[in-house]
């Protein structure tokens, strides 16, 4: 594995220096995410008018598609890209492995929320909590694959093997993303077609509804970015502490070894000195 200089802990420093400089950026990102989420909720629940067809239920669509956008495209896009960068020998760095792992964990939360908010919207709209529809099934499959990735990270092995296994798993799971996206076009599904990212790229939502939906996309993307930064920091700290613990254990063993060699040398010294 190639270690970049940015990842290498310096003497007396467990955590790489670069992770400390970004605290203010992450704080500002967190504040922006919070403000935009509050604005989305306010517009979505109180300001926008009810829909002609879906009536009040349209309000759920100000959070469900943005959450799905983050889960499918942001989280998976980053996880897949970081996995490719880790697998490519020229760009290999532990940072990509950590980034992929962080994106997958945050993505799993958003995928679970995509399924839950979609199900809550589907119950009054379709009359059922769940249908084995192509879009729903492929998203559920994606969620299971995400859990598989997270389980794979916990399998005991050396860092290099774990990173390789996880990178391959992330790329296998990423194959499902275009299937989820195009499932409404490829098969006859209960789930409605794309409202914004449709084949003609002409959104079928307008006015205050469109602006609220757009704000929802921005808000949840900011939330994702903040969570990813936090999770990446945690992953960096965990790996740095693992390394520090290993170093400490090795030093203890060496010290024990030195002490036992010294003691045995002292025991043999009088016998050698006697003649």
């Amino acid at each position: 594995m190639t270690l970049s200089t940015a990842d290498a802990p310096t003497a007396g420093r467990v955590v790489p220096k670069w992770t400390r400089r970004r605290t203010w950026t992450v704080r500002i990102l967190g504040i922006a995410a919070l403000v935009s989420i509050v604005c989305t909720v306010w517009l979505g629940l109180w300001i926008t008018p009810p829909d002609k067809v879906q009536h009040q239920l349209v309000r759920l669509l100000y959070i469900h598609p943005p959450i799905a956008w983050v889960a499918l495209y942001c989280a998976f896009g980053i996880a897949a890209l970081a996995s490719i960068l880790w697998l490519w020998p020229r760009t290999r760095s532990p940072l990509w492995d950590r980034l992929a792992a962080s994106a997958v964990e945050v993505g799993a939360v958003f995928t679970a929320l995509t399924l839950v908010t979609g199900s809550i919207w589907g119950r009054p709209t379709w009359g059922v909590w769940w249908a084995w529809d192509a879009r729903l099934t492929s998203t559920a499959l994606l969620f299971v694959m995400l859990l598989g990735y997270l389980a794979l990270r916990r399998v005991p092995s050396d860092a290099d093997t774990r990173s390789r296994r996880c990178a391959v798993a992330a790329l296998i799971a990423a194959v499902d993303v275009p299937i989820v996206h195009f499932s409404v076009d490829w098969w006859k599904t209960l789930h409605q077609g794309a409202t914004v990212l449709n084949a003609n790229l002409s959104p079928t939502v307008h006015g205050s509804m469109a602006w609220t939906l757009l704000l929802g996309f921005v808000a949840f993307t900011l939330v994702f970015a903040w969570m990813l930064a936090m999770r990446l920091r945690i992953e960096t700290l965990e790996q740095a502490l693992e390394g520090a613990e290993l170093d400490e254990a090795l030093h203890e063993r060496w010290a024990e070894g030195d002490a036992s060699v010294g003691a045995s040398a002292r025991r043999t010294e009088p016998a050698e000195a006697a003649p």
């Binding site: 007396g12 420093r13 467990v14 955590v15 989420i37 909720v41 979505g44 629940l45 009040q56 239920l57 309000r59 759920l60 959070i63 469900h64 959450i67 939360v109 679970a112 929320l113 839950v116 908010t117 809550i120 919207w121 119950r123 009054p124 939330v223 903040w226 969570m227 936090m230 999770r231 920091r233 945690i234 700290l237 965990e238 740095a240 502490l241 520090a244 400490e248």
Partner: protein
């Protein structure tokens, strides 16, 4: 309307709880890292 409230409540509560867990985990690890750094130096 109850479905809408439930949807927003579940989504926002889950994200808030996860965000809180991230903050707690980060702080705990930072304290631990600071302690290890002190011991090493």
């Amino acid at each position: 309307m109850s479905y809408i409230v439930a949807g927003y409540a579940i989504a926002l509560t889950t994200l808030a709880v996860y965000a809180g867990l991230l903050v707690v985990r980060r702080r705990r690890l930072e304290r631990l890292a600071a302690r290890v750094e002190d011991e090493q130096s």
